[in-house]
Symmetry: C2
Subunit: 310 residues, 2 copies
């Protein structure tokens, strides 16, 4: 059972120091220990106006919108959700090592989606919001180890962010579990009625080409473990292969008693800094040599429900 | 259907030049065009002594061993396969955004795996083979855009490789679809009887801490789309959740007529160089601005079966 323990859990085990470990500092605190010692104020309770509950037959996916980065898209998605737009739609595409996408299948079946399924009060097109101006007032926790694609990377309140000081722009990074907006060729053709979640290696070529609207906080396996579509780009070829979306609701629209008690560790907190340090410099008997580096998509802001880490 | 086309397929479409595109060079060749124009000599037919056919109920997974990097592990795995060691074993662990692992479940059920399931002529322990000395005679196609974790990265005959000239070492990188050797805490405790494939963001902290023995050429969805295990580290909690392994055979042990006609594009070929160039500098109406960079786990050596790209 202890074969090939991943870092976090290997660190979580209390293991006798081996000779290889003795050459390093004393064993570093484990992720589990760091989270157990975290203070209540280090945890952020997301605004329920930013939390989507997407109910699939197998369970619930919780998505946190990121209106600081994509405010117009967040507002349009809220409008769509409140109209019940997504209820009865489906997961139409699962492309291996890339994305799971949901949409109105009528668009894929050759129908005119906009006619068959009016957007109501939501807008049909939106300014792209692929990037935003760097705002020094926003929280910013830089990661020091560089990045292949962007001059700077770091976190802003739980979201992975890349920055280019030369252009003055910043944008959310397409890490595993991030949610983006499907669109047609025109940059303004995305409106939030088709969304995707990253289920593989971070597709960084999508960064600042598509609007990223949030992050899956809970339920990723309900999106990542679905059968891959066998059509072009991972679209399902038969209607029966699609996973139905039972409903998408905004937490703010539910009575407080029906909302989840979900929290995200603040990425500006000392405990998140300790997690970064453990990921970069942590060592154990299983991993005697610290890796020394950390990529922007290699650590995620921890989430807990009812105080229990997911 | 054309919403949110990924780069390769967006490039594959013939799209009228938009104003944003006019600012760039003329549209670049698409991946599909590059592969269609490739020459037979650019494709390598893997040695059948290095090809594992792992038969699952849903289909076949084909793995190419990398004996240039991990020769002792490759030989031990061949010995295990030829004894029928894996036949009737199971996928015992699927940890989301990490690995799918197969092994003898008796080890997980508290039994003494080595007693219940003797390794026969295979060795119980092996020198780690986590790294090897850089060999200037091996093929080497560097990627120029840097890497967060290693001083140099590139490809060697289809496999992603990292190098550290200071130490004189190189090692296979834990990209999506790479196959590694599960072990216990002692570095020599891996023997190939427990293997894992990467199914998420490249877990680079595993590099040069675990032996990487090969790459999945075909059938990744049969490993990546499995239900995630709900036990610690993604182990399945109930025996019935495990996916049985019907058989693992070496292609070399099958009559030639039963072997797949599988080929891998040579990563030192002009066509692979063109694919790298297209990934870095390619642009289309959908992605008007080239991303300009390419990470080691963001491109894979193409595979074809009977001449048809997978």
């Amino acid at each position: 059972m202890n074969r090939f323990a991943p870092l976090a859990l290997a660190l979580a085990c209390t293991l006798a120091a081996l000779p290889a470990l003795a050459a390093q500092d004393k064993p570093t605190p484990t992720a589990k220990e760091i989270l157990a010692a975290s203070k209540p104020a280090e945890w952020r309770t997301p605004d329920p106006a930013n939390l989507l509950y997407m109910q699939l037959p197998a369970g619930r996916v919780v998505i946190e919108l990121a209106p600081e980065f994509t405010p117009l898209h967040a507002q349009n998605i809220r409008t769509l959700v409140r109209q019940g737009y997504f209820d009865g739609l489906a997961i139409v595409r699962v492309q291996d090592n890339f994305v799971t996408q949901w949409d109105d299948p009528n668009g894929d079946d050759g129908g005119d989606k906009a006619k068959l399924h009016p957007l109501g009060k939501a807008k049909a097109t939106l300014p792209p919001e692929f990037t935003r101006a760097i705002d020094s007032k926003q929280p910013w926790t830089p990661l020091p180890d560089g990045d292949v694609y962007a001059p700077q990377v770091g976190f802003s309140e739980g979201f992975p962010v890349a920055r280019d000081p030369a252009s003055g722009k910043e944008w959310l990074v397409h890490c595993y579990g991030m949610v983006g907006v499907g669109r047609d060729v025109p940059p303004d053709s995305g409106n939030g009625s088709a969304l995707y979640a990253v289920i593989g290696q971070a597709p960084r070529r999508l960064d600042h080409n598509l609007a990223v609207v949030g992050r899956v906080l809970q339920g990723m396996p309900f999106l990542s473990a679905l059968p891959r579509g066998t059509g072009p780009m991972g679209f399902y070829e038969k209607a029966g292969e699609r996973t139905p979306i039972l409903s998408v609701k905004l937490a703010a629209d539910l009575p407080p008693a029906q909302r989840e008690n979900i929290q995200v560790l603040r990425t500006g907190s000392p405990s998140f800094a300790a997690l970064i340090d453990a990921a970069r410099h942590g060592h154990s008997a299983f991993y005697p040599v610290p890796v020394g580096k950390l990529g922007i998509c290699d650590i995620h802001a921890p989430v807990r429900v009812d105080g229990k880490p997911l």
